[in-house]
């Protein structure tokens, strides 16, 4: 089985080197690595030149402004039976390719979702690590059990090339391309696996401004995809997941801001109850990710929930009610990867 890796990048001078090294330094080496330079303006092209002998480097004519365009461009150069998508700020664990190869031996499997870990930086990334721990060890695991993996992460996705090229491909009408192609695979009843042993480490926003911008992109993309694929589906597991994520998200986000106005005492009681749940989840996340900073920054996690809830409502208003479709990609500021 021929395996390719597809890496889109734009101005990734601080991270791209380690990303490519991690792809080259695999226990089962990938047969082909395609790096798409989306017309970077920093030192990225010079860094990429060092790897010319080992990887296929392609460059877009001008900056496309959206990751999905760069991925679509790079897909034309992919010749493998399966391909792995990752990001320029992401590092693959050394057995990533070997792990997913085993999953893809089953011809009925169209895609595999890997496990994303947040690289350690500060309190914001600690909170994101808890998000990932809960999302991937509880939510996504349960989704895998009911055969509805909600999203194949763009940083750790594996796809059967022929299926993807012929039937899926990258669309550019939403801000979260990974959610888009996952929904489309589900609509085609394709089998998606979730493998917690296929691990990658990614760089998450480390400033509040970057965090807010990324959440705006994610939630805007989420609502865009819900509108695009709104499924009057006959798949009950799909309806369950979508209602759980969106309806519950909307309900609790409103509750978070409205309840203190209606009944302050009850909202404090509720907050106390939520704190107990959160401590439990914090211990769980800290144990799973082997990171003490998750527990240390748990109060900050509560603060970020309010930001999340606010942005979720804001994007609901913009994308669903006012129909102001935002397709401007946001790229957070990078820092050097320290493993």
């Amino acid at each position: 089985m021929k395996i390719s890796i597809l890496i889109p990048c734009y101005n990734e001078e601080l991270t791209i080197e380690k990303c490519i090294f991690s792809c080259l330094n695999q226990t089962r080496r990938a047969d082909e690595i395609v790096v798409v330079d989306d017309s970077s303006t920093d030192n990225t092209p010079e860094i990429l030149k060092k790897f010319e002998k080992f990887v296929k480097i392609v460059r877009t004519q001008k900056n496309t402004g959206n990751k999905s365009y760069a991925q679509e461009y790079g897909l034309n150069f992919i010749t493998g039976d399966i391909f792995i998508t990752t990001d320029g700020d992401t590092v693959l664990k050394s057995d990533f390719v070997e792990t997913v190869e085993k999953d893809m031996q089953d011809p009925s499997v169209a895609a595999v979702a890997g496990y994303v870990r947040s690289l350690k930086c500060n309190w914001i990334t600690a909170c994101r690590a808890l998000d990932y721990a809960i999302g991937q060890n509880i939510d996504k695991l349960a989704q895998d059990y009911i055969n509805f993996v909600f999203v194949i992460p763009g940083a750790a996705g594996v796809f059967r090339t022929d299926v993807f090229k012929e039937k899926v491909n990258f669309d550019h009408d939403t801000l979260t391309e990974d959610l888009d192609f996952t929904y489309r695979l589900h609509k085609m009843d394709k089998k998606i696996l979730y493998n917690r042993n296929a691990i990658c480490y990614t760089q998450d926003p480390s400033t509040l401004k970057s965090y807010i911008n990324q959440m705006r992109r994610w939630f805007a993309g989420g609502w865009q995809n819900l509108i695009k694929h709104f499924i009057s589906s006959d798949k009950p597991e799909m309806a369950l997941e979508i209602s759980l994520i969106y309806v519950e998200g909307l309900f609790f986000s409103i509750l978070l801001f409205v309840l203190p106005i209606i009944n302050l005492w009850f909202s404090l009681e509720l907050f106390l109850m939520y704190s107990v749940v959160l401590i439990g989840l914090g211990i769980f996340g800290s144990f799973k990710e082997k990171r003490a900073d998750i527990l240390i920054f748990l109060p900050a996690y509560v603060f970020l929930r309010y930001i999340n809830a606010w942005i979720f409502l804001e994007q609901f208003l913009k994308e669903v009610i006012l129909k102001q479709k935002n397709l401007v990609w946001f790229k957070p500021k990078r820092v050097e990867i320290k493993l």
Binding site: I134, L141, A142, T176, D178, E248, G249, F252, Y274, F312
Partner: protein, 162 residues
């Protein structure tokens, strides 16, 4: 895309995981029993003597099965304990809140019953020690006046006072 708040969806997902893992655990136990059974049917030494080399190729030794079973069981138990602790924490916090919400009603009922009891006690004591003892539950009405219920005794008491 992540959920804005880990809440009910997380609980729902925990329940799905618990159900699935319990089912897996049950089926794994069944399989292990079957495997152990097969080893007993084909004793290792006998099999090895009759067809040398086949044992290593086709059968797993009983010790290996036991060790694997033990590892699997430990893993499963630790996972179940973590899940149980999490579910307990979530459940207890919900219980605390729901108890808080209904505590006023609960208290009102208890106080009401208590006050009735106290007023009855004083009413009984003022008129008759015997009736007081009945009201306090020290003596049954039948012990004092056969075929007379507490209600009748109370009616008598009220009539006396009037």
């Amino acid at each position: 895309m992540i959920a804005p708040l880990p809440g009910l969806s997380t609980i729902a997902h925990l329940i799905i995981i618990a159900v699935k893992k319990t089912a897996d655990f049950a089926s794994a136990s069944g399989e292990k029993s079957l495997q152990r059974g097969s080893v007993k049917v084909f004793p290792a030494q006998l099999e090895e003597q009759s067809r040398p080399g086949l044992l290593q190729k086709n059968y797993i030794s009983e010790a290996k099965i036991k060790s694997r079973w033990h590892q699997g069981r430990t893993k499963m138990l630790s996972t179940l304990i973590i899940e149980a602790v999490l579910l307990f924490m979530i459940g207890s916090s919900y219980a605390v809140i729901s108890a808080g919400v209904t505590s006023e009603q609960f208290n009102a009922k208890v106080v009401e019953k208590f006050m009735v009891r106290i007023s009855n006690y004083y009413a009984c004591n003022n008129s008759s020690n015997v009736l007081g003892a009945v009201c306090l539950g020290i003596k049954q009405p039948e012990e004092i006046l056969p075929q007379r219920s507490t209600l009748n005794l109370m009616n008598d008491l009220v009539a006396d006072r009037n």
